[in-house]
């Protein structure tokens, strides 16, 4: 069994982690008191959970939409023989090895009310609260910055060998510029773009550090809410933290399954 060294730890960690999370959220593994099956934790955390879910979904949707748009544009410019493509290729590779945490930290230094942009604009009094403000602008910016590089990498990689020759063929067949994009490039680009965007969405939904460092103080995104409850001195909050974790995992899984189902319908996939 050559797959065992990879498969066994993966299955063990995932199954044990998710099962234990579910058990704890249902009151079966309390830190104090007797185990008792109940959905009390879900009910207790429900108000916060709903707003957090809305916020997290919003952040994930906005980040991945922005990342998809910027990434696609970058990939198209990098793949076609456009002027300055080497510089753009280099620039778009820069965020790849940058840890999310570092991206968040530098985005904070750029966008906070004492950040570089506010100083450049000069009028700090009217600078909107992008960091920790009611609208998670800095969070979305940090995710979109990092993930647009990822989307560009994936899409450019998928297109690199194919698009030029197909476009030339289409041009020979008399297709104009818009028609070439519509009937040649777009169908080729959709599967990798959708896959990369979906990965971005799922990652953003469940990622902690950016949302914690730059996100709104209230309401909190799902991972931040879960972590605050998890580390709360009030030990009865622990099942609520796990309830948030279970809901987040369920959302992420649902998004993954939906993407796979959509991708399976497109003919060019696999």
């Amino acid at each position: 069994m050559l797959v065992a060294p990879a498969l066994v730890p993966t299955v063990a960690v995932l199954v044990a982690g998710l099962a234990a999370a579910l058990a704890q959220s249902l009151g079966l593994v309390p830190l104090v008191g007797r185990p008792e099956l109940s959905a009390q934790a879900y009910l207790d955390v429900r108000p916060d959970l709903l707003t957090a879910t809305g916020l997290s979904l919003g952040i994930a949707a906005a980040s991945s939409a922005l990342a998809a748009g910027v990434g696609l544009l970058t990939a198209l410019l990098v793949v076609r023989g456009a002027a300055g493509r080497r510089l753009l290729r280099f620039a778009s590779a820069v965020p790849i090895p940058v840890p999310h945490l570092v991206g968040a930290a530098s985005m904070g230094l750029l966008l906070s009310d004492s950040g570089l942009l506010a100083r450049l604009v000069g009028d700090q009094g009217s600078w909107p609260a992008l960091v920790h403000g009611p609208w998670p602008v800095a969070v979305v910016a940090a995710y979109a910055w990092k993930e647009s590089a990822f989307v560009a990498l994936v899409v450019a990689g998928a297109l690199a060998t194919r698009v030029a020759s197909y476009e030339e063929t289409a041009a020979v067949l008399g297709a104009g510029r818009w028609a070439r994009f519509r009937f040649v490039t777009w169908p080729l680009v959709t599967p990798p773009l959708a896959a990369a965007t979906a990965i971005t969405f799922v990652y953003t939904l469940g990622s902690y550090e950016v949302a914690w460092l730059l996100g709104p103080v209230h309401p909190e995104p799902l991972p931040v809410l879960a972590q605050r409850l998890f580390t709360s001195p009030d030990l009865t909050a622990r099942p609520q933290a796990l309830a948030v974790a279970v809901v987040t995992a369920a959302l992420a899984l649902a998004a993954t399954v939906a993407t796979l189902a959509a991708l399976r319908r497109t003919a060019t996939w696999r």
């Binding site: 960690v13 904070g108 469940g206 796990l242 995992a249």
Partner: protein
């Protein structure tokens, strides 16, 4: 029609294209500019667009905060994750690419599943089990991060194995190489770029992780990201944050340069290489 895109057709097209490219360059590069400025700032109070005094205060403050040992810990963590996840991923990838696995669709789905699950959710559940089983925090962190890295190593190496031509090994056997020699002199060198790429990704998982280390380590295992996070969540630490953030980019960059350099040396650096032939493998490595 080699260009595929001709901006000169309509008036203003060229200016528009330049604007688009300029905006994209700004988008990717601007967020790192404050890091560079802050790292070299001694004093840079609010309204000033550039630091009032340059200096290395941030660097000494970072050193005092324990940057060096945290850096070393994170290097080791990244190396450990890469050292485990790369060979395990290689074995799985080989088995999957060569069709040696029953229910291979299910197996690959399971191996890719960690990408689809929030790490904090899994680890919050796992934590109580690790505590009750008295698993040392470091072991738990490495185990979870290996699982998080396996989808990447498996995927990269599966693609590599799918494109790997076993005829090279047959040819080597016929030239007198024993199976052992084939492994060392043919298979390993031919798969080296993919192995390096997979190891790089696995290293990044360990090097940049924050939440898994926090949850399982309980704050006692202080890695570089923990240091950055604690500085960044405070106030007035901008210079320290910048120094820590910038230095955190060094190991990945060094690895990329190393891979690029050995790729160049290994594939056409000597003799009279054509620029195109020399550039191709370097690009491949950077892309991975």
């Amino acid at each position: 029609m080699t260009g595929g895109r001709r901006a000169g057709g309509q008036p203003g097209g060229r200016a528009g294209a330049v604007l688009v490219r300029g905006s994209l360059l700004l988008w990717f590069l601007l967020p790192l500019v404050p890091l560079v400025l802050w790292a070299a700032a001694e004093r840079w109070s609010a309204p000033a667009v550039l630091p009032q005094r340059w200096g290395t205060a941030g660097w000494s403050a970072a050193a005092e905060a324990g940057a060096a040992p945290a850096f070393a810990r994170s290097l080791l963590l990244g190396a450990a994750v890469a050292a485990i996840a790369t060979p395990a991923g290689a074995l799985a990838a080989r088995a999957l690419a060569h069709g040696l696995v029953h229910r291979s669709r299910l197996v690959s789905a399971l191996l890719l599943a960690p990408v689809a699950l929030p790490p904090f959710a899994v680890v919050m559940g796992l934590n109580v089990l690790l505590l009750r089983a008295r698993v040392p925090a470091l072991v738990g962190v490495v185990a979870v991060l290996v699982v998080a890295a396996l989808p990447y190593t498996t995927y990269v190496l599966r693609v590599a194995y799918a494109g790997y031509d076993t005829s090279y090994e047959e040819e080597a056997r016929l030239l007198g190489a024993t199976p052992r020699a084939v492994w060392w002199r043919v298979r390993l060198p031919l798969l080296a770029p993919a192995l390096a790429g997979a190891a790089f990704l696995a290293f990044l998982v360990g090097w940049s992780d924050y939440i898994v280390t926090v949850l399982i380590g309980g704050g006692r295992l202080v890695t570089y990201p923990l240091l950055i996070a604690s500085a960044a969540s405070g106030v007035g630490n901008e210079a320290v944050v910048a120094v820590l953030s910038l230095t955190s980019l060094l190991p990945p960059l060094a690895l990329l340069l190393l891979a690029g350099a050995s790729g160049l040396r290994g594939r056409g650096g000597r003799g009279r290489p054509s620029p195109a032939a020399a550039a191709a493998p370097a690009r491949e490595v950077v892309v991975r």
